[in-house]
């Protein structure tokens, strides 16, 4: 289909302190229903969205972090996390949720969705998109 466009969603905000992270996730899921080529990137405080073990019982907010695990089912499987952002925040990929997707072309083999990339690699990925939505 020729009208499939490359959509990039840029996540730069931490979860819970503001509504950006949750709203972005809603937009991504809605957008995924339109069969576009979707890429997500997490930079700056956005990397905190993907940390494991959220327990929001004490702050009276919905814990939306389990929803990230559903992205693979929506064919959202290109998720890039900037290495420099992780390092500045004392995080490694092991602190993040293990997000996977199943590859239909390889007998539903389970593959990792998250790739840690450098700033320059990310710049290249971002430059190859048709539409960039930044939150």
């Amino acid at each position: 289909m020729s009208d499939v466009k490359k959509f990039l969603y840029v996540n730069r905000r931490a979860p819970y302190g503001t509504i950006y992270a949750w709203e972005t996730l809603e937009v991504v899921l809605i957008g995924a229903a339109f069969d576009q080529d979707v890429t997500l990137v997490f930079v700056d405080d956005g990397v905190f969205q993907l940390t494991k073990g959220h327990d929001t019982a004490g702050i009276g907010m919905k814990n939306f972090s389990p929803t990230y695990a559903a992205l693979g089912d929506y064919d959202v499987n290109k998720i890039y996390v900037e290495k420099e952002s992780l390092e500045a925040r004392g995080l490694t990929i092991d602190d993040l949720q293990h997000l996977v997707w199943e590859d239909e072309d390889e007998d539903w083999a389970e593959k990792d969705s998250i790739k840690v990339v450098t700033a320059s690699e990310l710049a290249e990925i971002m430059s190859q998109q048709d539409i960039v939505l930044s939150f």
């Binding site: 905000r13 931490a14 979860p15 819970y16 302190g17 503001t18 700056d44 405080d45 905190f48 940390t51 494991k52 073990g53 959220h54 327990d55 929001t56 019982a57 004490g58 702050i59 907010m61 814990n63 972090s65 500045a88 925040r89 004392g90 602190d95």
Partner: protein, 101 residues
């Protein structure tokens, strides 16, 4: 006059924490809440400024905000975690409160 300072913005996104640290007196208390709890984590670009502040000031962080963000295992030594009741107690124990919103 004893002062309690609250900070609620991520140290990686806003300069509120630095302003608070620069403009608070020795002996005052600093309570990190909401996205500011990220300042209490070990091994970050903001860790050193908190460690430096803890030499002369008392630093607290709201436990519920830490738990919500999944980072409870990364909070640095010396930062005292308080719950909401502890937050209220801190407010009552100090003469004034400044919110670095």
């Amino acid at each position: 006059m004893t002062m309690l300072h609250t900070v609620n913005k991520s140290p990686f996104e806003k300069d509120s924490l630095n302003s608070c640290l620069r403009l608070s007196e020795d002996g005052s208390s600093i309570l990190l809440i909401e996205d500011a709890i990220y300042a209490a984590l070990e091994g970050t670009a903001a860790s050193d400024s908190i460690k430096d502040a803890m030499k002369t000031k008392k630093v607290y962080a709201l436990q519920d905000d830490i738990n919500a963000r999944g980072v409870k295992d990364k909070v640095m030594d010396g930062v005292e975690q308080v719950d909401y009741a502890g937050f209220v107690t801190l407010v009552t124990e100090h003469d004034t409160v400044q919110s670095w919103v």
